[in-house]
Symmetry: C2
Subunit: 266 residues, 2 copies
């Protein structure tokens, strides 16, 4: 079963399009949102996984917060995610070439992940796609990021068309399982036209959508186009809440309502 | 002392511009170049560090091969690198936004690295530069990659100029300590004009150059423009050799000869 099928099954099983993004900041790392002091990162993460599981179809672990974890601990977290009927995404944003990307995907597989994110800076989406397929790991390239600086990047011209469309076409050609599109909001540059454009180029792919919750993005237009292929990611608004389970349920319900409220494109 | 100064001192101390790139492939990972079976990755890496140290100014650890290492083990490797008078680079190719890049840099600092590589896909070089400075870690953005698929990317037009030049200017504005330029070779697309162009935009920055050795790139034109600011990276041709020390000495000598053979641009 490929990652696309795994997601659609998990979403149906959980009756949820919610994916919880876990990024455990250490106490020394920043002020504000962080893990409590003196707590093991693996234990804290397992606690979040268990709390949100009833309302959640996927877990995304942000690799830049997990650089200090052993393979055994990562495996045990992924085992827990799977035992609870969810899928797991390694948010590594791979951005290398040849054997190095292959090494990143190999590690993700060893650790028990179902998919990995990929930053197509080197332009090698086709190669990364075939490497991911060989390892049985889903590939999720970035296509539309929501940070302000990406406005210039997405409109860079390649063969006379904007970069984001070039990347969407590369993702389609590579048979990527999904892509990343930031949630549009009044505060960012992502337009409904761009999302519709990408949806046309990738009529079967999943879409991983960060930027909901704390970042205030609107998931409805994406749900309208991608339906249950939408992996709606919420991070801090859930994991640092007093009651992560209750917050996960709220977001699950919000996403379901938004989904029911829009006409589906497919 | 910033990373630029650390490199120049190490290069002088070691009388070498050689950086050894270590990417320990596991036996299960691929056929061909790999670690011997049954050997600890940390021990194997320490063995390479010790072997090449007399001829080497820097060590680059490729993060996609070290995803399973603890902070303690990574620290012990970086301690060893520093005890031997070398600098260490975390080749993570960070490609994320905001707090996530900050987390990656925080981890690099905790582990004892002097610098980290960065893939400017999200366009946020300025932010990454100030985050790296706040942590006291050098930032090394990718500017000219040598893989064939990057030819289209480097020529994507932003504000009417090619992407690679836009990225070089962003790196200059961010006061990045260095940039990455692949070694030009008859088999790749990197031109001497592009290298000269980037050298003019960044008259003080270091340049990390992969693609020497196994990949057959020519370091001479870069040495002519960047002089001792060149971090000449050789990976597999050294680490998987029967005698890594002897190979490191050969490459150190080759690089020194190439340096003496070209008129210096500065």
């Amino acid at each position: 079963m490929n990652f696309r099928q795994k997601w659609l099954q998990a979403a149906q099983r959980k009756n949820s399009l919610l994916c919880v993004g876990i990024d455990p900041a250490e106490a020394a790392q920043r002020h504000g949102h962080q893990m409590p002091e003196g707590v093991s990162k693996t234990e804290w993460t397992r606690h979040i996984i268990d709390a949100v599981a009833p309302y959640t179809a996927g877990i995304k672990l942000n690799r830049n917060y997990f650089k200090d974890i052993t393979r055994e601990d990562m495996r045990s977290l992924n085992d827990r995610i799977h035992e609870q009927g969810m899928i797991s995404i390694d948010d590594s944003k791979l951005a290398d070439i040849g054997d190095t990307n292959d090494a990143g995907i190999y590690h993700a597989k060893q650790e028990g992940f179902d998919a990995i994110t990929y930053a197509p800076f080197p332009g090698n989406t086709l190669q990364a796609g075939s490497q991911a397929q060989a390892h049985g790991v889903g590939l999720i390239p970035l296509v539309l990021m929501s940070n302000p600086e990406y406005r210039l990047m997405k409109n860079a011209l390649i063969n006379g068309e904007p970069l984001y469309r070039f990347l969407a076409k590369q993702s389609a050609e590579a048979q990527a399982d999904g892509i990343v599109i930031g949630a549009p909001s009044p505060g960012n540059h992502i337009t409904l036209e761009e999302i519709a454009d990408v949806a046309r180029i990738l009529p079967e792919a999943l879409v991983l959508v960060p930027g909901i919750g704390a970042q205030g993005g609107d998931i409805a237009p994406i749900l309208g186009l991608f339906g249950p292929r939408t992996i709606a990611n919420v991070g801090r608004a859930i994991i640092y809440a007093k009651d992560p389970a209750q917050q996960a349920r709220s977001y699950r319900d919000l996403i379901t309502q938004a989904h029911q409220g829009v006409p589906t494109g497919r």
